[in-house]
Symmetry: D2
Subunit: 332 residues, 4 copies
């Protein structure tokens, strides 16, 4: 249950309203969602009379009852698509944000080469993992803090924003120090302790869908972050695991319009993980944009065949220009 207040009310009124509701249910919470003050209840515990009393309270604009597990993510509460700034860049509808970069930061030369090219192509965000979640304990696990420093340096040199993954709460502060956007990978989508902690961070979160997550579970994961105080979330469809083994994953393109129908949050797509094969990245990026994606994340590498991880799904730098032209034309 969410209670939206009138824009005009004072903070004293807001406090008073909060106390008014707390007499019915003490667990009432407040949130400032990108400038909009709301109160919400974790559970729908109120009687019809109590709801009525709230609805008719002079400070209240409306009371809504979205699906409870993702009420703050829902369109029922916030009908207009959410848009927010990251530095001098805007994310949301009417944008087509691009996040590009290698799977992992491997060396200063590698990340600077990529950053330079991205700047030339007017890409806003550079990605690159410093802590890598790898299936095998014996695979390359990332350069860790050293990698973070390198990507930050490269980004600063070329005026880019850094998107990089937080793999555990214990490295959150380290990553947050260097990144502009914190990525949560598919395997951590339901790492609820980490999600709660992200609520307390003042950086946008790039929340990838778990590889077998249902749509409502994904939105509930986003809800953990918002309910704990952080409204700036970008969802990213990155392929689900199905019986089909022709490609690494099945990019669930329909999740894009579905999320747009259920939620106000921006939704991106990652055709690199979504296919696992660079041959299909461009058509699937096109498909995602045509279906309404607000942005694309794509893996690029100066020399994909020598990449320390995920080379198969990385495109070459020169292919990125063609890809960007295609999707930007499509968008227009």
């Amino acid at each position: 249950m969410i209670i939206t207040v009138k824009p005009s009310i004072t903070s004293a009124d807001f406090k008073e309203l909060s106390h008014f509701i707390a007499q019915f249910d003490e667990s009432v919470n407040s949130l400032n969602f990108l400038g909009q003050n709301v109160l919400f209840l974790p559970k729908n515990t109120l009687s019809k009379e109590q709801v009525n009393a709230i609805e008719t309270h002079s400070a209240v604009e409306k009371v809504v009852f979205p699906p409870q597990a993702y009420q703050l993510c829902s369109k029922e509460w916030r009908n207009e698509p959410t848009s927010f700034s990251i530095g001098n860049t805007q994310v949301g509808p009417n944008q087509l944000s691009i996040i590009a970069g290698p799977c992992a930061v491997e060396s200063e030369e590698q990340i600077f080469t990529v950053a330079k090219k991205l700047a030339e192509l007017n890409v806003e965000f550079i990605r690159g993992g410093a802590y890598k979640p790898r299936t095998s304990p014996y695979s390359f696990q990332g350069l860790e803090t050293e990698g973070l420093k390198l990507i930050r340096k490269a980004a600063d040199a070329y005026g880019l924003k850094v998107v990089t993954e937080v793999v555990d709460r214990s490295v959150l502060d380290d990553v947050a120090q260097y990144a502009d956007v914190l990525q949560i990978g598919a395997r951590n989508m339901q790492n609820f302790f980490l999600l709660k902690e992200l609520g307390r961070i003042d950086k946008p979160i790039f929340l990838k869908r778990g590889m077998s997550a249902k749509i409502h579970e994904w939105l509930a994961a986003a809800e953990y972050i918002i309910a704990n105080g952080n409204p700036r979330i970008i969802l990213c469809e990155r392929g689900i695991r199905t019986f089909d083994d022709s490609l690494r994953n099945t990019l669930d393109v329909a999740a894009i319009p579905l999320i747009k129908d259920l939620s106000h949050l921006p939704i991106f797509a990652d055709p690199s993980h979504g296919t696992g094969n660079r041959k299909y990245i461009e058509p699937m990026a096109m498909a995602a944009v045509a279906a309404g994606a607000d942005g694309i994340m794509v893996e690029v590498h100066p020399n994909p065949d020598l990449a320390l991880s995920d080379g198969d799904q990385s495109i070459e730098l020169r292919s990125l220009e063609k890809l960007l032209n295609s999707i930007r034309n499509l968008r227009n």
Copy 2:
């Protein structure tokens, strides 16, 4: 193993070559694939020397060894995309064919109303089931022959081609008499007896992907039809069954570029079955076209809420115009 002959050779030469190969493997088969004469072997049984003898034969252009289960469908054999005519219409690359119509033919009024609108919108193909495969024995099973007559009449009145489903070999002649294109539904994709029989029919086949069919199984199903003599096949991605239950199926958009990479056959998409929900048909049609689909099948109904089957995934006639404008613009 496929042997392509030189365009210049006579039919006597072709016969001689066939006998030449038959001395190595009696199971050699010949096929005229849209004007191109080929010989093919069901199994790769020949020795290196025998292959060499064939490759150096004066009538032979080239010998290729595509994946055996779908060799005649493969790009290894036929690199250029296949295109063919259906009456005065062309299917293949550089087209964006539209097949629209109700799930089932329900009445003369219904099917004529649809046909009239399709003609106005320059849609070439009308669809409508006369024999309906239904999960429950107690659901509406179609108007059968009466339905076939109605859709033929409506199509003729408005200059459209008819696409309708063959559900069993026993109704094949009945359906072939009225249809221009024979649809094979997802549940029949591996009805091998029916597939073989379709090889002997001189009508294009619209072969939907089975709901849990892998890509190579789908191409092997098409191979049954081609190897038995019918080269005119259109593949149609219609959604696969996955753990995700937000929508009826998961439209596997990546199957479109994947098929284009593996096969020369035209590939369509059906966003109606692919989503099961009319709200998502337009974005998913857009996605399919952006990913390279050669055509779209979509369910329309004069009054979806009263449809005897699949109303949820049918759009209204007036929505069709908007949809067509969107995808035709995207294509250009």
Copy 3:
């Protein structure tokens, strides 16, 4: 909606009751289900008053409203598990029926060798495909009528019952002439034309689950057969298709207790197709029996490594004895 009549009523009473109900809904159907007379309506169209009139009719024992798509399969209608005879053998609870034999009939010597061993081990049913549904058009397609004659001859020589697959309506009469039990394979589970025709056959049907069929779809497929007049159905779980590719299929063992909870029909399991790997056949046969399976189908071959199809999932004849001892001990 199903109307069970009192055991004592005459056929004149039954006819009268049928007319009585037909005045409310003309689509009322009658069925003799293994000696039990019932009337059923395809749709729940009646008013409360009409239902009441039927319930209080002197010939009526009870009126039930099971899930409509599989009402005749349901426990709501028929609470006791169904059991029936096939020649001198009984299928149902308190039995542990064994069906064994090669994937395909390959030669007289092969099928006689198998039959002899089965008779020694007190196995009641021999299986062996004569018409084989194969993914590739170039794979061995079975010996057809010749195969049927061979398996019948071998079965007669050793006092066995024949279970073999019907792949198309056009071969139904041919197969029915030689078989004691007609198998419907996973790919044909929703071949509705074939299912309807099976309703008119007086032979038990062995209905395998489709590889991506939900439980209610499987029961609805059985309903097609029963509603068309054939009550003797055996369901067989044979593995579903999932993301897991360690084995050919995922044997859904839980389908066994689930079917027993929803339906009165006997349920078997096929650990050969369920795993695709002979190493796991015995533990999975054990699991199926422990979960309550009424029978097991298993592929055996005198020389699995030379089998023309599915050799990987066939056990040797000498392993069959060990397997049977294990599962028969478990059952006791």
Copy 4:
């Protein structure tokens, strides 16, 4: 690559051997696996000559090359099933360990009631979550430290071992203080930071399979723990996510013999999560035991209908006795 040393060698010899190998590859690691000293290389980097030099070294018993991602888990290295003690209890082959208890610790009365019953039934392990991973941020999240204290107290009062979940590295020390066995839930199976940390803990780990984890990914997750120093791992199959929605998950019973074939680690099954429905817990526990499971985890609750989480899949205390009798009889 794993190098097993002769049982007779001294620690000086072992050190010498380690240095000998390090000259070829510095990343060589040593491990004491339940009394057995081994050396292993993360990557197979050595030349044929180098391998030969190691194989013929006087301290070396054998060199094996199992699948690299789970070499320490593999049967290729350690053919006999692993067995180990937890206090006065043994886990491994020839045991049938039982872990029972509520989904979550809810109150002192609840957990003591359960513990008392478990002791009466000779169950060795009590389970109960103190930190609960919940899909929705608004669901009951567990009693946290208070819950740990309660389950410890109840276990001590009745001579039981405690199995409880670690949901994040930050609570690891807290949980390890109270638990005898640390459970890693399905959502954390690929939380690699946590897995590495578990390698340094001297408590057995109960590692549940991720809901869409392939077998080799699951073993690679176990490898993280072993390679970091902790050899005492119990794997637990708890159901995978498939298209089938009749039950909460599909218990992949075949994973049990498959794991036994690939790995020496003990494997348990959890029919509560595996089905999500208490009606099917007993038959699926039976199936798991028949397939070779070394233990069963089952949720019980004094009053399942009032449980704060997962009540649907918890059985009543009185049903537990029947279940245990059934599976213990089956085992004998």
